[in-house]
Amino acid sequence: MSELVIETRGLNYNFGTQKVVDNLSLHVKKGSIYGFLGPNGAGKTTTIKILLNLLKSPAGTVFLFGKEINTHRIESLKRLGALVEQPAIYSHLSGKENLINRCILLGLNKSKAADLLQLVGLTEAANKKAANYSLGMKQRLGIALALLPDPELLLLDEPTNGLDPNGIIEIRNLMIDLATNHGKTILVSSHLLSEIERIATHVGIINKGKLLFQGTIDELQNLSKPTLEIETSNIIGASALLTEHGYALTVSESKRLSLLFSSSEESARINAILVNSGFQVSSIYPVRKDLEHLFLDITKNN
Protein backbone atom coordinates (compact mmCIF):
# COMPACT_ATOMS: atom_id res chain seq x y z
CA MET A 1 0.00 0.00 0.00
CA SER A 2 1.34 3.42 -0.85
CA GLU A 3 2.11 5.95 1.82
CA LEU A 4 -0.80 7.88 3.31
CA VAL A 5 -0.30 11.62 3.33
CA ILE A 6 -3.55 12.31 5.12
CA GLU A 7 -5.16 9.88 7.46
CA THR A 8 -7.99 10.51 9.86
CA ARG A 9 -9.15 7.77 12.17
CA GLY A 10 -12.77 7.94 13.24
CA LEU A 11 -12.59 11.71 13.49
CA ASN A 12 -15.47 13.45 15.21
CA TYR A 13 -15.98 17.18 15.56
CA ASN A 14 -18.75 19.19 17.15
CA PHE A 15 -19.71 22.82 17.04
CA GLY A 16 -21.45 22.99 20.38
CA THR A 17 -24.00 20.20 20.27
CA GLN A 18 -24.06 19.99 16.50
CA LYS A 19 -22.02 17.17 15.03
CA VAL A 20 -20.16 18.54 12.02
CA VAL A 21 -17.78 15.68 11.36
CA ASP A 22 -18.96 12.20 12.15
CA ASN A 23 -16.60 9.26 12.43
CA LEU A 24 -14.60 10.39 9.42
CA SER A 25 -11.78 8.17 8.21
CA LEU A 26 -10.03 9.80 5.28
CA HIS A 27 -7.23 8.05 3.45
CA VAL A 28 -5.32 10.20 1.01
CA LYS A 29 -2.44 8.49 -0.73
CA LYS A 30 0.75 10.15 -1.82
CA GLY A 31 0.62 11.49 -5.36
CA SER A 32 -3.14 11.31 -5.64
CA ILE A 33 -5.63 14.03 -6.44
CA TYR A 34 -8.28 13.40 -3.88
CA GLY A 35 -11.63 14.92 -4.74
CA PHE A 36 -13.43 15.75 -1.52
CA LEU A 37 -17.03 15.99 -2.55
CA GLY A 38 -20.11 17.02 -0.73
CA PRO A 39 -22.99 19.45 -0.82
CA ASN A 40 -22.63 22.82 0.87
CA GLY A 41 -22.48 22.48 4.64
CA ALA A 42 -21.42 18.82 4.52
CA GLY A 43 -18.35 19.44 6.66
CA LYS A 44 -15.70 19.86 3.96
CA THR A 45 -14.31 23.18 5.13
CA THR A 46 -14.42 22.07 8.75
CA THR A 47 -12.41 18.99 7.83
CA ILE A 48 -9.85 21.09 5.98
CA LYS A 49 -9.57 23.42 8.97
CA ILE A 50 -8.99 20.40 11.18
CA LEU A 51 -6.24 19.23 8.80
CA LEU A 52 -4.65 22.68 9.21
CA ASN A 53 -4.96 22.40 12.98
CA LEU A 54 -7.05 25.58 12.96
CA LEU A 55 -9.66 23.48 14.68
CA LYS A 56 -8.23 21.20 17.31
CA SER A 57 -8.83 17.53 16.66
CA PRO A 58 -9.05 14.93 19.42
CA ALA A 59 -5.66 13.36 20.08
CA GLY A 60 -4.70 10.43 17.89
CA THR A 61 -7.28 10.98 15.17
CA VAL A 62 -5.56 13.10 12.53
CA PHE A 63 -2.25 12.17 10.91
CA LEU A 64 -0.41 14.14 8.27
CA PHE A 65 2.59 12.48 6.67
CA GLY A 66 2.11 9.73 9.23
CA LYS A 67 2.46 12.04 12.21
CA GLU A 68 -0.17 13.10 14.71
CA ILE A 69 -1.06 16.71 13.92
CA ASN A 70 -1.48 18.16 17.41
CA THR A 71 1.97 17.03 18.45
CA HIS A 72 3.61 17.82 15.10
CA ARG A 73 1.76 21.00 14.15
CA ILE A 74 4.59 23.17 12.81
CA GLU A 75 6.37 20.24 11.17
CA SER A 76 3.19 19.27 9.30
CA LEU A 77 2.26 22.81 8.32
CA LYS A 78 5.70 23.29 6.80
CA ARG A 79 4.95 20.58 4.27
CA LEU A 80 1.56 21.80 3.11
CA GLY A 81 -0.06 24.72 1.38
CA ALA A 82 -3.71 25.61 1.69
CA LEU A 83 -6.48 27.70 0.29
CA VAL A 84 -9.42 27.79 2.69
CA GLU A 85 -12.76 29.31 1.75
CA GLN A 86 -12.25 32.62 0.01
CA PRO A 87 -8.56 33.46 -0.32
CA ALA A 88 -7.17 35.47 2.58
CA ILE A 89 -5.45 38.43 1.02
CA TYR A 90 -4.37 41.79 2.43
CA SER A 91 -6.39 44.10 0.26
CA HIS A 92 -4.23 47.19 0.87
CA LEU A 93 -1.17 45.37 -0.47
CA SER A 94 -0.50 44.48 -4.08
CA GLY A 95 -0.49 40.88 -5.27
CA LYS A 96 3.26 40.86 -5.22
CA GLU A 97 3.44 42.34 -1.73
CA ASN A 98 1.01 39.70 -0.49
CA LEU A 99 3.37 37.03 -1.76
CA ILE A 100 6.46 38.79 -0.38
CA ASN A 101 4.79 39.04 3.01
CA ARG A 102 4.24 35.28 2.91
CA CYS A 103 7.87 34.79 1.85
CA ILE A 104 8.90 36.67 4.99
CA LEU A 105 6.69 34.46 7.17
CA LEU A 106 8.00 31.29 5.57
CA GLY A 107 11.61 32.41 5.46
CA LEU A 108 11.76 32.13 1.67
CA ASN A 109 13.65 34.13 -0.89
CA LYS A 110 11.51 37.06 -2.06
CA SER A 111 12.30 36.31 -5.71
CA LYS A 112 9.89 33.37 -5.48
CA ALA A 113 7.01 35.84 -5.49
CA ALA A 114 7.60 36.75 -9.13
CA ASP A 115 7.81 33.08 -10.18
CA LEU A 116 4.46 32.33 -8.66
CA LEU A 117 2.81 35.40 -10.09
CA GLN A 118 3.87 34.13 -13.47
CA LEU A 119 2.66 30.62 -12.74
CA VAL A 120 -0.85 31.83 -11.97
CA GLY A 121 -0.83 34.47 -14.70
CA LEU A 122 -0.82 37.56 -12.51
CA THR A 123 2.48 39.09 -13.62
CA GLU A 124 0.78 42.04 -15.24
CA ALA A 125 -1.34 42.73 -12.18
CA ALA A 126 1.58 42.19 -9.78
CA ASN A 127 1.71 45.78 -8.57
CA LYS A 128 -2.00 46.38 -8.53
CA LYS A 129 -3.68 46.61 -5.16
CA ALA A 130 -5.35 43.31 -4.33
CA ALA A 131 -8.50 45.23 -3.39
CA ASN A 132 -8.92 45.98 -7.08
CA TYR A 133 -8.52 42.36 -8.17
CA SER A 134 -11.45 40.48 -9.63
CA LEU A 135 -12.73 37.43 -7.78
CA GLY A 136 -10.88 35.17 -10.20
CA MET A 137 -7.63 37.07 -9.73
CA LYS A 138 -7.98 36.83 -5.96
CA GLN A 139 -8.55 33.12 -6.28
CA ARG A 140 -5.38 32.77 -8.34
CA LEU A 141 -3.42 34.81 -5.87
CA GLY A 142 -4.78 32.53 -3.16
CA ILE A 143 -3.53 29.51 -5.10
CA ALA A 144 -0.15 31.20 -5.61
CA LEU A 145 0.06 31.76 -1.84
CA ALA A 146 -0.73 28.10 -1.24
CA LEU A 147 1.94 27.01 -3.71
CA LEU A 148 4.60 29.40 -2.43
CA PRO A 149 6.41 27.02 -0.07
CA ASP A 150 6.46 24.35 -2.80
CA PRO A 151 4.48 22.06 -0.49
CA GLU A 152 4.19 18.29 -0.79
CA LEU A 153 0.52 18.49 0.07
CA LEU A 154 -2.01 21.01 -1.16
CA LEU A 155 -5.35 21.52 0.50
CA LEU A 156 -7.61 23.44 -1.84
CA ASP A 157 -11.08 24.36 -0.73
CA GLU A 158 -13.21 24.98 -3.83
CA PRO A 159 -10.29 26.48 -5.79
CA THR A 160 -12.25 27.15 -8.95
CA ASN A 161 -14.85 29.20 -7.13
CA GLY A 162 -15.50 32.42 -8.99
CA LEU A 163 -13.29 31.57 -11.94
CA ASP A 164 -14.45 31.86 -15.53
CA PRO A 165 -14.33 28.77 -17.78
CA ASN A 166 -10.82 29.63 -18.94
CA GLY A 167 -9.63 30.09 -15.40
CA ILE A 168 -11.24 26.81 -14.35
CA ILE A 169 -9.42 24.94 -17.10
CA GLU A 170 -6.12 26.59 -16.20
CA ILE A 171 -6.41 25.69 -12.53
CA ARG A 172 -7.52 22.18 -13.44
CA ASN A 173 -4.48 21.71 -15.68
CA LEU A 174 -2.24 23.18 -13.02
CA MET A 175 -3.51 20.68 -10.47
CA ILE A 176 -3.03 17.76 -12.84
CA ASP A 177 0.47 19.00 -13.69
CA LEU A 178 1.40 19.40 -10.03
CA ALA A 179 0.27 15.88 -9.19
CA THR A 180 1.60 14.03 -12.23
CA ASN A 181 4.83 15.90 -12.94
CA HIS A 182 5.79 17.19 -9.53
CA GLY A 183 4.55 14.38 -7.32
CA LYS A 184 2.31 16.59 -5.20
CA THR A 185 -0.62 15.25 -3.30
CA ILE A 186 -3.72 17.35 -3.65
CA LEU A 187 -6.91 17.33 -1.68
CA VAL A 188 -9.45 19.42 -3.50
CA SER A 189 -12.94 20.00 -2.21
CA SER A 190 -15.93 20.77 -4.34
CA HIS A 191 -19.66 20.41 -4.46
CA LEU A 192 -19.52 19.77 -8.19
CA LEU A 193 -18.89 16.19 -9.17
CA SER A 194 -18.31 17.09 -12.80
CA GLU A 195 -15.39 19.22 -11.64
CA ILE A 196 -13.82 16.46 -9.57
CA GLU A 197 -14.48 13.79 -12.18
CA ARG A 198 -12.13 15.54 -14.58
CA ILE A 199 -9.11 15.69 -12.33
CA ALA A 200 -9.39 13.38 -9.35
CA THR A 201 -7.81 9.97 -9.04
CA HIS A 202 -9.61 9.29 -5.78
CA VAL A 203 -12.90 10.47 -4.39
CA GLY A 204 -14.39 10.86 -0.96
CA ILE A 205 -18.04 11.78 -0.68
CA ILE A 206 -19.15 13.44 2.50
CA ASN A 207 -22.60 14.43 3.61
CA LYS A 208 -23.71 15.69 7.01
CA GLY A 209 -20.23 14.99 8.31
CA LYS A 210 -20.26 11.33 7.30
CA LEU A 211 -18.04 9.78 4.67
CA LEU A 212 -20.42 7.92 2.37
CA PHE A 213 -17.95 6.71 -0.17
CA GLN A 214 -14.20 6.55 -0.51
CA GLY A 215 -12.25 4.98 -3.32
CA THR A 216 -10.84 5.50 -6.78
CA ILE A 217 -12.84 7.27 -9.40
CA ASP A 218 -13.27 3.92 -11.23
CA GLU A 219 -14.64 2.32 -8.12
CA LEU A 220 -17.17 5.08 -7.90
CA GLN A 221 -18.17 4.54 -11.49
CA ASN A 222 -18.52 0.82 -10.95
CA LEU A 223 -20.96 1.51 -8.18
CA SER A 224 -23.45 2.47 -10.81
CA LYS A 225 -24.54 -0.59 -12.77
CA PRO A 226 -24.58 0.18 -16.48
CA THR A 227 -27.77 -0.48 -18.39
CA LEU A 228 -28.41 -1.62 -21.93
CA GLU A 229 -30.68 0.69 -23.86
CA ILE A 230 -32.57 -0.66 -26.83
CA GLU A 231 -34.56 1.40 -29.29
CA THR A 232 -36.98 -0.51 -31.41
CA SER A 233 -40.15 0.04 -33.43
CA ASN A 234 -42.45 -2.19 -31.42
CA ILE A 235 -41.77 -1.68 -27.74
CA ILE A 236 -44.63 -3.75 -26.40
CA GLY A 237 -43.88 -6.74 -28.57
CA ALA A 238 -40.16 -6.52 -27.91
CA SER A 239 -40.57 -6.31 -24.16
CA ALA A 240 -42.91 -9.32 -24.19
CA LEU A 241 -40.39 -11.27 -26.22
CA LEU A 242 -37.46 -10.41 -23.98
CA THR A 243 -39.44 -11.21 -20.86
CA GLU A 244 -40.27 -14.56 -22.43
CA HIS A 245 -36.54 -15.17 -22.86
CA GLY A 246 -36.01 -14.47 -19.18
CA TYR A 247 -34.61 -10.94 -19.28
CA ALA A 248 -35.69 -8.56 -16.58
CA LEU A 249 -36.51 -5.16 -18.01
CA THR A 250 -35.87 -2.26 -15.72
CA VAL A 251 -37.67 0.49 -17.61
CA SER A 252 -39.57 0.58 -20.81
CA GLU A 253 -40.44 3.90 -22.26
CA SER A 254 -42.41 4.68 -25.38
CA LYS A 255 -39.46 4.22 -27.70
CA ARG A 256 -36.86 2.54 -25.55
CA LEU A 257 -36.24 -0.50 -23.41
CA SER A 258 -33.63 -0.73 -20.66
CA LEU A 259 -32.23 -3.71 -18.91
CA LEU A 260 -29.15 -4.38 -16.83
CA PHE A 261 -26.04 -4.59 -18.93
CA SER A 262 -23.93 -7.68 -18.32
CA SER A 263 -21.56 -8.09 -21.29
CA SER A 264 -21.13 -7.26 -24.95
CA GLU A 265 -21.83 -10.88 -25.92
CA GLU A 266 -25.08 -10.76 -24.02
CA SER A 267 -26.02 -7.54 -25.82
CA ALA A 268 -25.33 -9.20 -29.20
CA ARG A 269 -27.50 -12.17 -28.20
CA ILE A 270 -30.39 -9.90 -27.23
CA ASN A 271 -30.01 -8.07 -30.51
CA ALA A 272 -30.12 -11.36 -32.43
CA ILE A 273 -33.28 -12.49 -30.61
CA LEU A 274 -35.05 -9.27 -31.50
CA VAL A 275 -33.87 -9.15 -35.11
CA ASN A 276 -34.61 -12.82 -35.74
CA SER A 277 -38.13 -12.28 -34.48
CA GLY A 278 -38.67 -9.51 -36.99
CA PHE A 279 -38.19 -6.46 -34.75
CA GLN A 280 -36.37 -3.46 -36.15
CA VAL A 281 -33.62 -2.48 -33.74
CA SER A 282 -32.52 1.09 -34.49
CA SER A 283 -29.95 1.25 -31.73
CA ILE A 284 -28.62 -0.80 -28.85
CA TYR A 285 -26.03 0.62 -26.47
CA PRO A 286 -24.76 0.34 -22.91
CA VAL A 287 -25.19 3.39 -20.67
CA ARG A 288 -23.32 4.22 -17.53
CA LYS A 289 -25.40 5.91 -14.93
CA ASP A 290 -24.50 9.56 -14.83
CA LEU A 291 -22.18 10.17 -11.88
CA GLU A 292 -24.02 13.34 -11.09
CA HIS A 293 -27.11 11.25 -10.42
CA LEU A 294 -25.12 8.69 -8.52
CA PHE A 295 -23.74 11.44 -6.33
CA LEU A 296 -27.22 12.73 -5.68
CA ASP A 297 -28.41 9.19 -4.90
CA ILE A 298 -25.58 8.61 -2.47
CA THR A 299 -26.03 11.89 -0.67
CA LYS A 300 -29.82 11.64 -0.64
CA ASN A 301 -29.88 8.15 0.82
CA ASN A 302 -27.97 9.39 3.85
Binding site: L54, A88, I89, Y90, I104
Partner: protein, 260 residues
Protein backbone atom coordinates in the same frame (compact mmCIF):
# COMPACT_ATOMS: atom_id res chain seq x y z
CA UNK B 1 12.40 33.34 18.86
CA UNK B 2 12.86 33.04 15.10
CA UNK B 3 9.07 32.84 14.75
CA UNK B 4 8.72 36.03 16.75
CA UNK B 5 11.23 37.98 14.67
CA UNK B 6 9.75 36.72 11.41
CA UNK B 7 6.24 37.63 12.53
CA UNK B 8 7.42 41.04 13.65
CA UNK B 9 9.05 41.63 10.27
CA UNK B 10 5.83 40.64 8.58
CA UNK B 11 3.80 43.00 10.79
CA UNK B 12 6.05 45.81 9.74
CA UNK B 13 5.85 44.84 6.09
CA UNK B 14 2.06 44.60 6.18
CA UNK B 15 1.46 47.92 7.86
CA UNK B 16 4.24 50.04 6.46
CA UNK B 17 1.82 51.71 4.09
CA UNK B 18 -0.94 52.25 6.62
CA UNK B 19 -1.89 55.24 8.70
CA UNK B 20 -1.16 53.36 11.92
CA UNK B 21 2.50 53.20 11.05
CA UNK B 22 2.91 56.71 9.70
CA UNK B 23 0.95 58.24 12.56
CA UNK B 24 3.81 57.21 14.86
CA UNK B 25 6.11 59.50 12.92
CA UNK B 26 3.79 62.22 11.70
CA UNK B 27 2.07 62.82 15.04
CA UNK B 28 5.20 63.93 16.97
CA UNK B 29 6.49 65.82 13.98
CA UNK B 30 3.30 67.82 13.55
CA UNK B 31 2.64 68.50 17.23
CA UNK B 32 6.23 69.44 18.09
CA UNK B 33 6.46 71.42 14.86
CA UNK B 34 3.33 73.44 15.63
CA UNK B 35 4.45 74.20 19.17
CA UNK B 36 7.84 75.30 17.89
CA UNK B 37 6.24 77.59 15.33
CA UNK B 38 4.03 78.98 18.10
CA UNK B 39 7.06 79.68 20.29
CA UNK B 40 8.96 81.18 17.40
CA UNK B 41 6.19 83.55 16.38
CA UNK B 42 5.55 84.57 19.98
CA UNK B 43 9.25 84.79 20.76
CA UNK B 44 9.10 88.33 22.14
CA UNK B 45 6.36 87.57 24.65
CA UNK B 46 8.08 84.41 25.86
CA UNK B 47 11.47 86.07 26.14
CA UNK B 48 9.97 89.08 27.90
CA UNK B 49 8.82 86.86 30.75
CA UNK B 50 12.42 85.93 31.33
CA UNK B 51 11.89 82.36 32.45
CA UNK B 52 14.88 80.57 33.93
CA UNK B 53 16.15 77.94 31.42
CA UNK B 54 14.74 74.92 33.28
CA UNK B 55 11.30 76.53 33.50
CA UNK B 56 11.49 77.47 29.85
CA UNK B 57 12.12 73.84 28.94
CA UNK B 58 9.30 72.89 31.28
CA UNK B 59 6.87 75.17 29.49
CA UNK B 60 8.08 74.19 26.04
CA UNK B 61 7.90 70.44 26.64
CA UNK B 62 4.82 70.77 28.84
CA UNK B 63 2.77 72.12 25.98
CA UNK B 64 3.39 68.95 23.98
CA UNK B 65 3.07 66.73 27.03
CA UNK B 66 -0.22 68.24 28.09
CA UNK B 67 -2.00 67.73 24.78
CA UNK B 68 -0.22 64.48 24.17
CA UNK B 69 -0.39 62.67 27.44
CA UNK B 70 -3.99 63.35 28.28
CA UNK B 71 -5.70 62.97 24.97
CA UNK B 72 -3.59 62.08 22.00
CA UNK B 73 -1.52 59.32 23.56
CA UNK B 74 -4.49 57.30 24.88
CA UNK B 75 -6.30 57.66 21.58
CA UNK B 76 -3.20 56.81 19.63
CA UNK B 77 -2.76 53.68 21.75
CA UNK B 78 -6.40 52.75 21.19
CA UNK B 79 -5.98 53.29 17.48
CA UNK B 80 -2.79 51.19 17.37
CA UNK B 81 -4.44 48.31 19.21
CA UNK B 82 -7.30 48.57 16.76
CA UNK B 83 -5.26 48.69 13.59
CA UNK B 84 -2.87 45.80 14.19
CA UNK B 85 -5.86 43.55 14.78
CA UNK B 86 -8.14 45.11 12.24
CA UNK B 87 -5.71 44.32 9.43
CA UNK B 88 -6.53 40.63 10.02
CA UNK B 89 -10.23 41.10 10.74
CA UNK B 90 -10.82 43.18 7.65
CA UNK B 91 -9.11 40.77 5.30
CA UNK B 92 -10.29 37.63 7.08
CA UNK B 93 -6.67 36.53 7.38
CA UNK B 94 -6.61 35.17 10.93
CA UNK B 95 -7.06 31.63 9.65
CA UNK B 96 -4.20 31.91 7.17
CA UNK B 97 -1.98 33.52 9.75
CA UNK B 98 -2.50 30.64 12.13
CA UNK B 99 -2.10 28.03 9.41
CA UNK B 100 1.51 29.12 8.91
CA UNK B 101 4.24 26.90 10.29
CA UNK B 102 4.90 29.34 13.09
CA UNK B 103 4.39 29.17 16.79
CA UNK B 104 0.94 30.60 17.64
CA UNK B 105 2.19 32.49 20.63
CA UNK B 106 4.87 34.18 18.52
CA UNK B 107 2.32 35.39 16.01
CA UNK B 108 0.24 36.93 18.77
CA UNK B 109 3.21 38.30 20.72
CA UNK B 110 4.62 39.86 17.54
CA UNK B 111 1.40 41.77 16.98
CA UNK B 112 1.42 43.06 20.52
CA UNK B 113 5.10 43.85 20.40
CA UNK B 114 4.68 45.70 17.14
CA UNK B 115 2.07 47.97 18.71
CA UNK B 116 4.38 48.51 21.69
CA UNK B 117 7.29 49.37 19.42
CA UNK B 118 5.28 51.90 17.45
CA UNK B 119 4.16 53.62 20.65
CA UNK B 120 7.76 53.62 21.83
CA UNK B 121 8.90 55.06 18.53
CA UNK B 122 6.26 57.76 18.66
CA UNK B 123 7.11 58.77 22.23
CA UNK B 124 10.82 58.65 21.51
CA UNK B 125 10.27 61.02 18.61
CA UNK B 126 8.27 63.33 20.86
CA UNK B 127 11.16 63.51 23.31
CA UNK B 128 13.82 63.77 20.62
CA UNK B 129 11.95 66.41 18.64
CA UNK B 130 11.21 68.45 21.74
CA UNK B 131 14.93 68.46 22.46
CA UNK B 132 15.90 69.18 18.87
CA UNK B 133 13.30 71.87 18.25
CA UNK B 134 14.18 73.61 21.55
CA UNK B 135 17.74 73.93 20.37
CA UNK B 136 16.56 74.94 16.93
CA UNK B 137 14.56 77.77 18.52
CA UNK B 138 17.68 78.86 20.32
CA UNK B 139 19.61 78.80 17.05
CA UNK B 140 16.99 80.93 15.35
CA UNK B 141 16.68 83.33 18.24
CA UNK B 142 19.59 83.35 20.69
CA UNK B 143 17.57 85.26 23.28
CA UNK B 144 15.88 81.98 24.17
CA UNK B 145 18.01 80.31 26.80
CA UNK B 146 17.40 76.73 25.74
CA UNK B 147 21.11 75.99 25.82
CA UNK B 148 21.54 76.71 29.50
CA UNK B 149 19.75 73.67 30.81
CA UNK B 150 19.83 70.07 29.67
CA UNK B 151 16.30 68.67 29.60
CA UNK B 152 17.42 65.19 28.63
CA UNK B 153 16.88 63.62 32.04
CA UNK B 154 13.51 65.28 32.54
CA UNK B 155 12.30 64.43 29.04
CA UNK B 156 13.47 60.84 29.03
CA UNK B 157 12.04 60.17 32.48
CA UNK B 158 8.68 61.68 31.65
CA UNK B 159 8.30 60.05 28.28
CA UNK B 160 9.47 56.72 29.67
CA UNK B 161 6.78 57.02 32.34
CA UNK B 162 4.20 57.93 29.73
CA UNK B 163 5.24 54.93 27.70
CA UNK B 164 4.95 52.57 30.66
CA UNK B 165 1.65 54.12 31.67
CA UNK B 166 0.19 53.49 28.23
CA UNK B 167 0.81 49.73 28.28
CA UNK B 168 -2.20 49.01 30.48
CA UNK B 169 -4.54 50.74 28.03
CA UNK B 170 -2.83 48.99 25.16
CA UNK B 171 -3.43 45.52 26.59
CA UNK B 172 -7.06 46.19 27.44
CA UNK B 173 -7.78 47.72 24.06
CA UNK B 174 -5.80 44.99 22.33
CA UNK B 175 -8.18 42.37 23.68
CA UNK B 176 -11.25 44.43 22.78
CA UNK B 177 -9.94 44.82 19.24
CA UNK B 178 -9.13 41.13 19.06
CA UNK B 179 -12.64 40.11 19.97
CA UNK B 180 -14.52 42.62 17.84
CA UNK B 181 -13.63 43.30 14.28
CA UNK B 182 -15.55 46.54 13.95
CA UNK B 183 -14.36 50.08 14.54
CA UNK B 184 -17.08 51.34 16.84
CA UNK B 185 -16.76 49.00 19.81
CA UNK B 186 -13.04 49.46 20.52
CA UNK B 187 -13.24 53.17 19.78
CA UNK B 188 -16.43 53.67 21.78
CA UNK B 189 -15.21 51.77 24.81
CA UNK B 190 -11.83 53.47 24.52
CA UNK B 191 -13.38 56.92 24.30
CA UNK B 192 -15.50 56.40 27.39
CA UNK B 193 -12.47 54.91 29.16
CA UNK B 194 -10.24 57.86 28.36
CA UNK B 195 -12.77 60.48 29.40
CA UNK B 196 -13.43 58.59 32.62
CA UNK B 197 -9.68 58.22 33.19
CA UNK B 198 -9.09 61.92 32.79
CA UNK B 199 -11.92 62.78 35.15
CA UNK B 200 -10.96 60.40 37.95
CA UNK B 201 -7.26 61.19 37.63
CA UNK B 202 -7.65 64.95 37.61
CA UNK B 203 -10.19 64.88 40.45
CA UNK B 204 -7.62 63.01 42.48
CA UNK B 205 -9.78 59.98 43.27
CA UNK B 206 -7.65 57.73 45.46
CA UNK B 207 -8.31 54.57 43.46
CA UNK B 208 -7.75 56.21 40.09
CA UNK B 209 -4.56 54.18 39.70
CA UNK B 210 -6.71 51.05 39.34
CA UNK B 211 -8.14 52.32 36.05
CA UNK B 212 -5.68 51.88 33.18
CA UNK B 213 -7.16 54.78 31.21
CA UNK B 214 -6.20 57.18 33.98
CA UNK B 215 -2.50 56.26 34.05
CA UNK B 216 -1.15 58.76 31.51
CA UNK B 217 -3.05 61.59 33.18
CA UNK B 218 -1.79 60.42 36.57
CA UNK B 219 1.78 60.50 35.31
CA UNK B 220 1.34 64.10 34.25
CA UNK B 221 -0.48 65.30 37.36
CA UNK B 222 1.89 63.48 39.71
CA UNK B 223 4.70 65.20 37.93
CA UNK B 224 3.42 68.49 39.16
CA UNK B 225 3.30 67.36 42.75
CA UNK B 226 5.03 64.52 44.48
CA UNK B 227 6.71 61.47 43.06
CA UNK B 228 8.09 63.23 40.03
CA UNK B 229 11.45 61.62 40.42
CA UNK B 230 10.40 58.01 40.79
CA UNK B 231 9.76 56.09 37.66
CA UNK B 232 8.06 53.15 39.26
CA UNK B 233 5.16 54.74 41.04
CA UNK B 234 1.96 52.99 42.03
CA UNK B 235 0.16 53.83 38.80
CA UNK B 236 3.06 52.55 36.69
CA UNK B 237 3.04 49.25 38.57
CA UNK B 238 -0.69 49.07 38.07
CA UNK B 239 -0.28 49.73 34.35
CA UNK B 240 2.36 47.03 34.01
CA UNK B 241 0.27 44.49 35.90
CA UNK B 242 -2.73 45.26 33.69
CA UNK B 243 -0.49 44.91 30.64
CA UNK B 244 0.84 41.54 31.69
CA UNK B 245 -2.48 40.06 32.77
CA UNK B 246 -4.39 41.19 29.70
CA UNK B 247 -1.55 40.17 27.42
CA UNK B 248 -1.81 36.63 28.76
CA UNK B 249 -5.61 36.59 28.57
CA UNK B 250 -5.32 37.86 24.99
CA UNK B 251 -3.25 34.85 24.04
CA UNK B 252 -5.95 32.47 25.19
CA UNK B 253 -8.51 34.43 23.22
CA UNK B 254 -6.31 34.25 20.13
CA UNK B 255 -5.73 30.54 20.58
CA UNK B 256 -9.47 30.01 20.62
CA UNK B 257 -10.16 32.60 17.97
CA UNK B 258 -8.45 30.55 15.28
CA UNK B 259 -11.03 27.92 16.09
CA UNK B 260 -13.79 29.96 14.52
Amino acid sequence: MRSLIISLQSEFYKSRKTLAFWAAIILPLVICGLITIGFFSNAEKVIARNYPPDALWGIFSGTALGIMGMLILPFYVIFMAFSVNNIEHKNDTWKTLFAQPLNKFSIYAAKYLYAVLLILLSLFLFAALTFAFGHLLHLLNSQFKFNEFSPIEMLSKLYLKLFLSSLGILSVQFIISLIWGDFLKPMGIGFIGVIMGIIVASKGWEYAYLIPYSHPTLVLTLNKSKGAHDIFTRDIYSSLIYALVFFIIGYFIVARKSVK
